[in-house]
Symmetry: C2
DNA sequence: TCAAAAGTGTTCAGGGTACACCCATGG
DNA sequence: CCATGGGTGTACCCTGAACACTTTTGA
């Protein structure tokens, strides 16, 4: 190692995952009650440390797999959080990521083993460290993206009703939208296809199930909701 | 330190600053030819290492002051770059920031002492490490922001002509805009005020000089160009 | 007198928004 | 038969886009 590097200090680098899922129609985050100090007893994002020989992105993916068993999940970096005292235990610079997972597919056992629970974003308990800021920034990034890129489908089942899709968008955007206008925009988009299947669980009448067609989207990546 | 932390490795944490300025009307970045290995001879963003007891944001501000003498500069975090081999010399995780500075105000001497030069973004030389990706992401973030928030004025003199402002926006957005439509939008915004001064350097006829009124903007923070 | 940049309005189309009622079904 | 969510069309407004000529003045 050259002189250039070795006069500088080294730091722990953490990753924190803001894992979004739709729990009974409610946009929720996987949180765990901390089992150890510092901030034992507060709720906390799922995190870990970057290992030797592991990229920061890979560390985040590893944390996600350890907790949910899911690979190839949609993830975005939220940013680095580097205040000196952000972790009262030790100096840790943390890189936050958000992930959008399909609620039907994750490994229940792993989540239980980590004492993690789904908490609705409308019902956040006190959180440790700077995790509230991480979540706020993640939600803002998601909000900016959801209207222009088809990321919302990562949160929905493969087949979904338009009411589910609209409700998800309303939650992410934080505002209601007109049902007819919403459906008009949907029907203008080739990449959202009606199937011949019907969902009978949400209403007596039943609602048509739709699916997102990635191939069509890739061929003509326009998207506007 | 608890067991929880101490089994994890520590890393150098770098900061890299993408310093934008308007050099003779050209959007440019301060770059330095690397004086030492690794990648000696290639061009490089201005960077440094996070020190003990210093936040990551503060490290970026320190690098900016060391190079330009400027404080209270507009800066945004671009993100963390954490690939294992991104720096061939040593494992360094780097957090990139972009800064928008007023070209009239920086300290020429400091820049010279660091062998830094302004290079137009249209004329980028080969850059070291993952600096091209950092610049690309910074430009994308700036592009997203410039139409909705008044950040462009950080790059302009206190008094500027509408032609200068339009040209800046065109450079950042990467597309030309109609002069009349642009000026119509400007005149709709109370926070951009015409002064009674005239710039005679850009044309024979002379162009009215405008200024950005931060107080008015803060009172009614709407902005749309 | 001419080159070079500053400055100025109108028209049109398309997208976005507002809005209310009937349908199908299970209980 | 009724409660519940599913599904549908139109009219208007307004924003955004296109577009060309006159003015000023230093050289």
């Amino acid at each position: 190692m050259t002189e250039f590097y070795k006069n500088n200090p080294r730091f722990f680098i953490g990753v924190d995952c803001i894992i979004f899922g739709l729990n009974k129609g409610e946009l929720s985050i996987l949180l765990a009650k901390r089992q150890f100090e510092p901030e034992k007893g507060k709720w906390s994002l799922m995190g870990g440390f970057v290992k030797d020989g592991e990229s920061v992105d890979d560390a985040a993916k590893r944390v996600l797999v350890e907790l949910t068993g899911l690979e190839n999940v949609y993830m975005e970096q939220v940013g680095a959080f580097g205040e000196v005292d952000r972790d009262p235990g030790e100096r840790v610079v943390s890189v936050a990521y958000y992930a959008l997972i399909n609620f039907d597919e994750y490994d229940r056992l792993r989540v239980m083993e980590h004492n993690a629970q789904w908490i609705s974003i409308n019902d956040m308990p006190p959180l440790s460290f700077d995790h509230p800021q991480m979540i706020a920034k993640a939600r803002e990034l998601m909000r900016q993206k959801v209207s222009h890129e088809p990321i919302g489908f990562n949160l929905l089942p493969k087949l979904f009703t338009l009411t589910q899709l609209q409700s998800l968008h309303e939650t992410i955007l934080g505002e209601t939208v007109d049902k007819r206008n919403f459906r008009k925009r949907i029907s203008d988009m080739d990449c959202i296809e009606k199937t011949d299947q019907i969902d009978k669980t949400g209403s007596r009448r039943g609602a048509a199930l739709y699916k997102f067609n990635d191939r069509i989207y890739k061929r003509d990546p326009k998207f506007k909701i």
